[in-house]
Symmetry: C2
């Protein structure tokens, strides 16, 4: 990394101009920084005349945490680019094109997805995406199946585990999702009006045991190559397309973590529907849409995962009678447990979600927070006993009543 320096906007534009086949020669390029600058500089560079554009993303050698700058490995760009390469092979329709990867500058140049919107924003605008469950269910089934021991040469899979050992980014997840929310910590940020609910979580020993078990699964179960951070800001959507970006947290972990992260974010939006308090009917209808999306996502995932297993399992032992059913049951359990853990930390942990935080009315925001906490805690407690995704829907319905 000897040649690394953070690019100025002018340098980013010059770099983008050097990418072949995107911009016409002599184009008047415009540039706009679109990231938050906490982890990366992200520039959207475009040519208004031709309508063409691209994204240049450069990793910064630090992360901003509670106002401090903490060093963070630039190796995450290698991991992200390698994960995107695998993702592009397995799920080309859900993967942005990568035009360039520059390890020295820790940057990638990627397809401009300006014709899509960020899924979180889409959900906050009560958008409906009838193809979402199919697209992301397929993405999850293909990524998780084809990178697992079920489909890979067992030796090659181990080499891939090695290539994706990702200690520093896993550490962020381990702290923010599985540790800080269950103790008093300056990494927890919440409004005084929910202190009683947060303190109940801090005192709930039964919950802590289930979190310890989920955390152990996150730490030890090298089941498949995960995206590792599959919330709704990392999914770009339009009616006929969904794209998954930013796999810099990729590592070999439990499949249920990725599926659970998507479901958690649907349910956080479900909780946040309290914010539209003057439109009770619209809220009820959109919540029904979101629960259908949760069910459809799991159903699409399971259907395609089982089809892949039946048609493409490389592994003789995968054909063992009863194994697939047991495997899928443990998957739904992991998924539900991780979904719960993801929900809690996003309500009162270090990084919140706009679906709830952006509710202007304090009473409605508090109701949304309490609904999310109730759902999250209940899901965590189901992680060893759940048999079906329907249990999630029952819990969500009850919490919002």
């Amino acid at each position: 990394m000897g040649n690394y320096h953070t690019l100025t906007q002018a340098e980013a534009v010059a770099y983008a101009r050097g990418i072949e086949g995107v911009f016409p020669v002599g184009a008047q390029l415009k540039s706009r920084e679109i990231g938050d600058g906490n982890l990366n500089h992200v520039f959207h560079i475009s040519d208004p005349a031709s309508g063409r554009g691209l994204i240049l993303k450069q990793a910064l050698p630090y992360v901003k945490v509670v106002g401090e700058s903490v060093p963070l490995t630039l190796d995450r760009v290698r991991i992200e680019s390698e994960a995107l390469r695998i993702q592009g092979e397995l799920c080309p329709d859900q993967t942005p094109k990568v035009y360039a990867y520059d390890p020295d500058l820790a940057l990638m140049v990627m397809e401009d997805l300006s014709d899509h919107i960020i899924l979180r924003r889409g959900l906050m605008e009560r958008g409906r995406y009838p193809l979402f469950a199919g697209h992301i269910g397929s993405f999850l089934a293909r990524m998780l199946f084809f990178t697992s021991d079920l489909a890979m040469d067992l030796q090659e899979k181990k080499r891939r585990v090695k290539a994706f050992i990702n200690p520093e980014l896993c550490n962020i997840t381990e702290d923010l999702i599985f540790d800080a929310p269950y103790k008093k910590s300056r990494m927890n940020i919440f409004e005084p009006h929910i202190r009683d609910a947060v303190e109940r979580i801090w005192a709930d020993k039964e919950l802590h045991l289930e979190v310890a078990l989920l955390r152990e699964v996150f730490l030890t179960k090298a089941q498949a190559l995960l995206h590792g951070d599959l919330h709704t800001d990392n999914i770009f959507i339009k009616l006929d397309s969904a794209k998954v970006i930013d796999p810099e947290f990729a590592y070999y972990g439990p499949m249920g973590f990725d599926i659970g992260t998507v479901i958690a974010n649907l349910l956080l939006n479900y909780s946040g529907q309290e914010g539209w308090s003057t439109d009770a009917q619209g809220r009820t209808e959109y919540r029904r849409y979101l629960l259908d999306a949760v069910r459809d996502l799991w159903t699409q995932f399971e259907l395609q995962f089982r089809e892949l297993w039946n048609g493409h399992a490389a592994d003789r032992m995968a054909k063992t009678r009863g194994y697939q059913d047991l495997y899928v049951t443990r998957l739904v359990q992991d998924t539900i447990g991780f979904a719960g853990a993801k929900m809690l930390c996003r309500v009162y942990g270090f990084i919140h979600v706009a679906d709830i935080d952006h509710i202007a009315d304090a009473a409605a925001r508090e109701r949304a927070q309490r609904i999310a906490l109730e759902i999250g805690a209940a899901l965590i407690k189901l992680n060893r006993s759940a048999q079906s995704i329907e249990e999630v829907l029952d819990i969500a319905l009850k919490a919002a009543n």
Copy 2:
């Protein structure tokens, strides 16, 4: 590995002479090859005048399988030497001293353990080792605890997982223990008199499901740094000492695999006691000793593992109420399941044990084989429900009656 060549006996002696501080200057060294030459050349080099000696072990770039030479990575010597270094720090009393490690020649020079005997031979001679359970129980507790997420910095543990990715040697285990024994394969070698019992195993779908689950745990659960091949040929013993050698199969896997391997080998000897058929009382007494050793080994392991957990857990979450008990219960389940899998493959798979194969009388040998098969299959089927090591003893008593 550009300078690698297999040493002649004379070159091995010259190499040994160059190790400082072992032999007197000008000593008349004797050399004797003591390995089977399938995987490694192992020379015992000694000076009869001073009584001093050492072991020089050089890895060969192939393994002999069914008469063929299959290439095998020399990187296993790096893994073995690194595992022995960690083992020496955590369990100095159970670890041979390493005088030299030469990556170019893929060789190690180690302490001469001629004052010990191989535990398998000790058991075949009906030796009693009252300190064995304490020594090996402690070895297992310390190695498995201190290399796990319970005791290590979580990031450092991930780097260690990476350093011990060991695809080729894990592949041998995956084939010989978890795959070939459950199908018709030329890797299965058995006498016609037990064909009916082997065919029952090939037809036992319930058993195959449990093996698939155990295999998945072996493939995915990066819980602790395992020895990976802890049978009784890799334990050297005398009344007041036990030493563990040959961790070339080391990798991050499920703790129960190592504990289960030791127990399997005690129970294989237990089965082989049929061979001493003229001495019914001696057989009964020694079997009682072996079952006590199984119980004591687990008890010593559990006691010391819990003590380490209570006193040395680095991880805040490890203190979660109820977590340790659940963890230990799942450990005993993994241990019992893996013990069963280890037993079956050693009766009719590719590599047998002398405890049974060396029984001269065919009828007694057959009885021993059937006892081991009965115990092994029953243990495998306990892998999801066992609650206590006592269940193993009950099964073993019943099988030998």
